[in-house]
Amino acid sequence: MPGREMTAAIAALALAGAAQAQPTERFVLSGSSILAADGSIQQGRALLIGSDGRIRRVAEQSELDSLRIERVEFEGAVITPGLFDLASFAGLEGDNAEVAYASDLEARAIDGLDPTSASLTDLLEGGVTGAMIIPAPVNPISGLSATINTSTGNAWVDQGAVIFSVAPIALDTLFGPTSRTGALELIRRSLGEAEDGMLAEVARGDRPAVIYAESSDGALAGYSALLTYGAEPVIALSNASIDVALELEEELDEVRFIAGPFAPNAAPESLAGPGLMARGGAEVAFRGGSAEGLRLSAAMAVQYGMNPQAARRGITSVAAGIAGVGDVTGSIEPGMRADLVVWSGDPLAMSSQVLAVYVGGQLVYAAPNSTESME
């Protein structure tokens, strides 16, 4: 996948740079617990952050106590990887619905990005350090996603997944396609005819694809159309996802799914889908629309049967993976970027507050009332 290659390249560059600068241990970050890679919250663990901005060690607090370096301690806090919002419009200032052409690969989220946008700050201060941003899915082929870092607005992946859409908003009564029939025909034909370029990469499975839908049968129709052409699409669907889970029951371990955003009035059929999919082995991440919305969507999915560990992975490591940067950030493991959020509690509890946000080992946000607790 180009996205993955690109990030690997970035990682390699960063590593090379780091090697030259001889990374040293910069500080120990500890709270009462951390969010481990499996999604569980583990007590008594602390992190050693290197001067290269990466996590160097994850160990028992007592082991790191002996080190004679700076310690940053948040009493009773939970340290998690920075959260990841998918299919977000954050940072896309103004109108992000490009409607001139039904097939529009030229619409690229990165080109609509304003790195100084307040929406990015809102995400960051809410504990979301990364986002996969997309152009509005208003065309059957809506454009390209980008994966960005919310603290700087820089892109990890500037030309990411191709966004396909079979939602009603992708249809156009005056200029067509006017129906899902037409939209899928266009998608199929475009993939079938593509000999080179991005769609050909999608058809070879080299470039990620996202199929955005607003109904379960739309998602299934789009998913199977893309599969036929060799793509490996991620399904983005909020409504009635339980139908998708049931329909793809036998192949769930190959499914990647972006759930949400959920409002409190979401249907049980929508809320129960993510849990069912995750249970069947699918990679389930969330679309929140805002930092709070992201956690709320995950918490609601938990209420409707999703394993809490899977839900925590869904807003961190799994999401980063779908955004193409899972090998760089999104989990607390040695070698990963130290994009970390210090919470007053489990991020799935809506009462938990962000105390501090670290990006690349640097403190980029500290909650106004949390600084006293820092040593």
């Binding site: 409190p264 009035n265 049967g305 809506m350 938990s352």
Partner: protein, 472 residues
Amino acid sequence: MPSVGRSIHVMTTALAASVCLAAPAAEAQFGGARGRLYQNAKVITPSGNVREVNMMVAGPSVMQIGPDVAGSPFGPKTDLEGRFVTPGLIDAASSILLQGGFGTSGTAATSRASDAIDVFDDLAIRDAWRNGVTSVFVPAVGQPGIAGKGALVRLTPTATIEDDEAALCIRLDGASASERLAVFAEVREAFRQAKLLRESRDIYEGELEDYEDELKKALEEWEKSQEEDPEGDDGGEDEAGDEDNGDDEPAQRTRSRRGPGAEDNENGDDGEGDDELPEGPEKPERPGPDPAADVLLEAIEGRLPVRILAHSSADITSAIELAEAAGVELTIVGGAESHLLAEELADAEGSVILTPAPDRFSHIDAAARISTLLDHDIDLCVGSGFDSASGGRFVLLQAQWLGADERDSLALVTRDAAGVLGAPTWGRLGQGLNADFVVWSSDPRLGGAQPYQVYVAGELVWESPNAGEGDS
């Protein structure tokens, strides 16, 4: 160990409660004779402490609860294996079960939310259970204005309406400024009219007494004059007297004895203000019946709580003013900007049921709102709001989302809610109280908890399909 007498007393209470409130749980009464012991429960107390207790449940109520409670060695037992247990959560303002959402047609003080409730909507009830919710207050919500009476509903398998006249609901949240003003004026006028009605009734009572006295006097004078003139027609008098045998109403008796000239009027309905006798007094006019005003009077006289739906500070100010003018106890439902008026609300001894607010209030710092209200000792609880699709769902999540911290959030949707709603058997686990409780997969105040089992009226009504799966 408690004495035998005490447990008998508890059982009587339980039976009485089940007879009054929980008719569908009739079969549970058979179990009530023995009771089931729930062992090793980690009950979270309203103050936020966790206590390991055993709980004896007889019929629909809790018979005993405490660390040392032990049942008969042969009695039925359930080991809760140290899981967290809370009282069934309360959704303090919910549109759950409201058939077809809320109507857009006009409503009146006499309308009842209970009339629109579908007690057989088991999909919605199961949905509430899986969120740990076992009881709700369903306000009447129609057009802005006086909306009607809300209902207290217990989510037994077929929902039980415990009180169909739980509170008078008033909506002050009009869509536009002019509508809001008009609605407020209308509501205030309705209360004023109700008070006027009460006054005019009082006046009528007084006037009626005066009128009777005067009539009596006139009669005495007339009788006196008759005695003075013994040639009067006695037969007519006797005849009239027989007809009215057994009628104690002095006014009528008097009327029947008016004299031969008045006989034509006797069988006519209320021939008031008889001007045939120039010296006779004028009968006061009885104020007409007004059921809507009677409801408002119930509220004014403190027999019916008043809950006012208001979000903006202006509407809440109106609500406080209305409560003062009408002399009613005040509960604000909604309350997005209630913290701005925390002092005034505290002075008015008002309480607040917070619900999710419209988007235009989204800038408000939720945590600051709740802490301000709590600092002012305002009674507070949380409801899911007026979208019937979200009714009974996510209340604990929303309590935290609306700003409550981990410790307060649970109290807000259990004990405090029961307090604000005036439902003494709800929201707590104690002797003689409802055996509505939730067994959780982990501490419900922290993230990632799911209801594991839900009990209503002592019966297991819902169990997680993923029961047994643990979390970190």
